[in-house]
Symmetry: C2
Subunit: 344 residues, 2 copies
């Protein structure tokens, strides 16, 4: 086993001080006025000896790890996995390394992850914050740690964030259902006070109100727990139908809700879109294969990932920079599941 070669080893073989080697390998020859010939020798020997800089030592000295943490709910959820991939790619362009972590919508886990990553001296965070994690975010801000919220944010907190236009997208999606002739539209969402979810509900509600569809039996919103299984969702849907047997459309607030919801509808023998039309927030590969291809809201994952990284890196470079708060529009992809269909 070969020992790792350090700057000292190179210095020794070339016969110069470590300072010179450092200057050359960091392309600071100009500022440091290093001789042209010796610079070349140093460079060559470095290659010859297979030198790989020790980033840990570098970080310790410079106080920058060129690493940041990405905390999401669950990296195995396609929404976050795709986001993560886009973040990874964009980060690489800036020579940054990303450490992903899953907090499972759990504030305690989230705090734990923040601690671990802070100890690892990450230069900043991109976080899809869990409920009740507001104080954790505030603490980071107080410690002047660069940070960008993604997917969700906190109303009262002045932070960087990158989200999609949850309210408008929902409003638009529900309006689309109404335009298709649906008059009793239900919604299945998560039970949480996170802004993105509240916005989606508001969008639903306002669309209904603005179209004078707010009757005794509406709004038809059912909220379930983040870790609700399929059975609980089936129960929720059954309750919605009980509340208003005329329900002719369902708006699902996320892709996981949709997947479980569709399976439930299948089991209950409801037909889409004849018995009930469907629109949902976020996408899934599975939607293409549902017998009635789903109408869904496509989130701008690529843009969100890119922007978040760019904002974070700007913020790391200039900690005094003003907060950037952007909302990137989503797109409604209309397909069969929300089509106008003549009932009997």
């Amino acid at each position: 086993m070969k020992k790792k070669v350090s700057i000292k080893d190179i210095a020794q073989t070339v016969g110069v001080s470590t300072a010179l080697v450092s200057y050359v390998l960091n392309n600071k020859e100009k500022e440091a006025r290093v001789g042209k010939e010796i610079a070349q020798v140093i460079r060559d020997t470095a290659v010859e000896m297979g030198y790989q800089p020790n980033q840990i030592a570098k970080s310790l000295k410079t106080g920058k790890s060129h690493t940041f943490g990405l905390i999401v709910a669950d990296i195995s959820n396609p929404f976050f996995a795709n986001l993560a991939r886009n973040v990874e790619d964009e980060a690489k362009k800036f020579n940054y390394t990303v450490i992903f972590a899953s907090a499972d919508e759990n504030a305690e886990k989230s705090q734990n992850l923040i601690n671990i990553l802070t100890e690892r001296q990450v230069d900043g965070f991109i976080i899809a914050p869990a409920e009740n994690s507001q104080d954790q975010i505030e603490a980071l801000l107080k410690n002047n740690i660069p940070l960008v919220l993604i997917d969700r944010y906190f109303k009262g907190l002045d932070t960087n964030y990158v989200v999609t236009n949850n309210y408008e997208a929902s409003y638009h999606a529900v309006s689309h259902l109404i335009a298709a002739g649906k008059t009793n539209i239900g919604m299945v969402a998560y039970k949480t006070d996170l802004v993105h979810m509240l916005d989606r509900k508001r969008g639903y509600l306002d669309a209904i109100k603005d179209n004078k569809l707010l009757k005794a039996k509406t709004p038809l919103i059912k909220t379930v727990d983040f870790n609700a299984n399929q059975e609980e969702i089936a129960v929720g849907i059954r309750e919605l139908f009980a509340q208003n047997p005329a329900m002719d459309a369902l708006f699902f607030a996320t892709n996981t809700l949709t997947l479980k919801g569709l399976k439930s509808l299948n089991k209950m023998q409801y037909r889409v879109p004849d018995d009930v039309a469907i629109v949902c927030f976020d996408e899934s590969e599975a939607f293409d294969f549902f017998y009635s291809p789903l109408t869904y809201i496509e989130q701008p994952l690529l843009e969100m990932g890119k922007k978040a990284v760019q904002i974070l890196i700007k913020n790391i470079a200039d900690k005094k920079s003003l907060n950037t708060q952007i909302s990137i529009p989503s797109k409604l992809i209309v397909r069969q599941s929300s089509a106008t269909v003549k009932k009997d």
Copy 2:
């Protein structure tokens, strides 16, 4: 902004040396014979001052980063995203942090990632190796860097690895199709020499041979590029049908191939399983929603992730330990797409 508090700060406020603080905070009081009372004072002050150890400094001193790299093809692919999640969870149990990276089945990117992570002083790697990356793996071995291959491995290389029983699973899946009465079975796979893919092909082929179904028109294997789009897969399938119009079943080698393949079949108006039965390797949420729920091979992702981490950590602790090579069985989940159906 508060300055970060170091061991030195604690030492100063308590009025002791940094050594004492270090011993106490690392629970080495016994070995270092630290006084009971002062130890408590140190502990209390550390908490009071909000001390967070600097892992970077720790790593530099100890030579261990308590971090490892996980290199997969693409973190946004559900197969790898799920694997990643399991790896993350298991690693956390050992207080290890994971850095994920996507190599896109590209040896050059893979080498680049290995370099970056090596510079970051990861203690080891879990790698789903790309084609032509064998020499990169060999180089790591030569440098005595702990490493576990996952999903795939190299025949000639003595490394740790954790895979599923690709050959047997494929053999079993194809035998199942044969048992269901299919006699002209095609296969769509990736064009690569990676062992896992070769094994899946061998399994297919042997099942056909052993059942005396090897005729002039078989084997019906079509291979496509890793980044093949749907159109190319459609072409492949069309060619298979051209080669043998009697083809009555298709075996797809991965989930991405399946998804694109199913879309192609839909476009070409083939019905599953009546016109063509389907079985595929690996799963996807989408398979539940295909009109004819898919029969698939379920890989033991949880076990694979766990085992890989355990082996890696054992190897990090004891670099001389013998290589562990395990193959965890997959499970065939039989559903409608491979059902026996009377034709005409």
